[in-house]
Symmetry: C2
Subunit: 388 residues, 2 copies
Amino acid sequence: MRKVCVAGVGMTKFGVSEKSCIELFAEAALEAVNASNIKVTDIQSVHFGNVFGDFEEGQAVMGSFAAREIGCPPSTPALRYEGACATASVAIRDAFIAVASGLYDVVLAGGTERCMAMGTPLATRTFAMCTEGKYESYTGITFPGVFAMMTHLYAKKYNIPLAKLKERMAMVAVKNHYHGTMNPLAQFQKEITAASVLKGFMVCDPLQLLDCCPFTDGAAAIVIASEEKAKKMVEKPVYILGAGQGSGAPLFRQKDITVHEARIAASKKAYEMAGVGPKDIDVAEVHDCFTIAEIALMENLGFYDFGTASEAVERGESKIGGKLPLNPSGGLKAKGHPIGATGAAQAYEIVKQLRGECGARQVEGAKIGMTDTLGGDATTVVDIIYGI
Amino acid sequence: MRKVCVAGVGMTKFGVSEKSCIELFAEAALEAVNASNIKVTDIQSVHFGNVFGDFEEGQAVMGSFAAREIGCPPSTPALRYEGACATASVAIRDAFIAVASGLYDVVLAGGTERCMAMGTPLATRTFAMCTEGKYESYTGITFPGVFAMMTHLYAKKYNIPLAKLKERMAMVAVKNHYHGTMNPLAQFQKEITAASVLKGFMVCDPLQLLDCCPFTDGAAAIVIASEEKAKKMVEKPVYILGAGQGSGAPLFRQKDITVHEARIAASKKAYEMAGVGPKDIDVAEVHDCFTIAEIALMENLGFYDFGTASEAVERGESKIGGKLPLNPSGGLKAKGHPIGATGAAQAYEIVKQLRGECGARQVEGAKIGMTDTLGGDATTVVDIIYGI
């Protein structure tokens, strides 16, 4: 396998949009193509992520339509991937393999989603199709329920008073909203306080409204190329150093839902391929779908020992300027979470960070970055390590 | 890129099933694993196809669940692909690339679908989400309508009286049902007559009931391995000589719906990679979702000049024993069409044919075989060439 890089990246404003999934994708994709100083016809394969286009707008087989929408010819293959909220990272990892194989020199990868038009009750139930169907979603559980259970178990297991844990979880929300104020593409660009998190509407005990990421419309895309091609395309190609993907058991078969075996396996593979460890990561975009999720992943990715991450949050280590800044973009929490696009938006941020193009939210001196994307009940997890 | 082979293959009985998509997949996958003389833990990556699991049984992110269901560990990535009716062939082609890249030595690819529980009216409308949503399915068109228009245009363009064309289309149905009588896994294993086709219920003028493939539940899977590994696993590995995938424009942007630019591009790529031409193909499993579809593809794949394939059908050239036997399995028409599984079932048949394991329906001396799978309005087309 040969060396592979990211050339250009593109992303729409996240929030509410009247555009279709394909129109959103086209906007992000063409930005990535332009930023790569190539023509659309230079793209040899399209790796397209979308989760619920059929439910959202009655549209399946979107990959090919998206490829043609941006001007690709009939000879360009387009693959649609679905891996719940990890969808776009599945697409990116697979695009990386396609270029590493030598079959293609230049490919496009990304994702798109429209979550807003459904409204919260229907979207919540639609998303619950990403939990297991015979024993889980069947009982009525939705994702706020899954992560609420995780919170209770985490507090119990590590003997942290729930009120204390909730204060630290609120700090995750406050941090990511603060980061989001510096991201012009973020859905929410205003600061919140810990008090407002703890006073929020109770979604699923103990998770309150501001513990939860929002529903979002948006798209993001990146151009992936062989090292040789990428060096000719852009001044600062960003290397994909390693990528791993894991498969978790259904929730009812997981021994401990605070320990994510798919995430541990995925990150191990990514670290090994990249030849780095958790301590080498300078900045990471991680899957903070709920505040407890960010705490749990800090441990599952090996950044902190199990049971200790919430203290690190309290010490401010995950803020920009801290020991390991997490979600400088604002994360899913403030930047937004258009599920099929999220992994690509994470890649967008890390590429910009490693190039030093993030302005006020820049993590100074970042050389190695990571994206971590979780689908379902940690059922599909993808970790990718980038370097400059 | 290195040489890649198919080792073992597996397939469920096609028809009606009470099993879930994942259970069906597991049945086919474990048969393929056993036939490959390996353990499930030898599989390094799972390439899983499914189109409408969310609509059919409220289950998304099925790839990971399927991988765990058959016993894969957390470190095994599982990718779900959706490319309408070409889904499983998209998965197979991508699995081929993953092995060719050198990243993996042994992977599993396949697909699964449950179409029967919805019933015909809902399934027809659900499948119509694979046409373009803003201008096509929005008007009420479904796939029988698309292929009915194709039939009218074909008759007009080549100045073939519609009654004569319909007689020849009926011969496609009669042939594929005849082939199906020799396939114990086929949904329909009884002969039909041209008269019964032409007397059938009118689905969408001029397509009658027996011009249309059925709805089907089923799954199929294949194990793909590097040449080196495959030779150790089975006596007769079957080589994947070439694979191509194309992306067609939405129907309303197609100049001539009897000419499939995605199919022409996909097959051209497959022929080039394999170093063969249409005349070298000994047997093919092709996408006969409607009788007219088989005639059109015979031309788009380069087997016959445009406008001449229906005469070749009349001469019996596509029967087992004819010049180029098509769909010895019975095809989508008689074997059945569980949309997300179809491409893998085609691969199953071609591998068995090239190994000489097809009993009464064996195409004698077949050395080079091809699968052709179409998704949507020829929006996603995959062609794969196999050799022994």
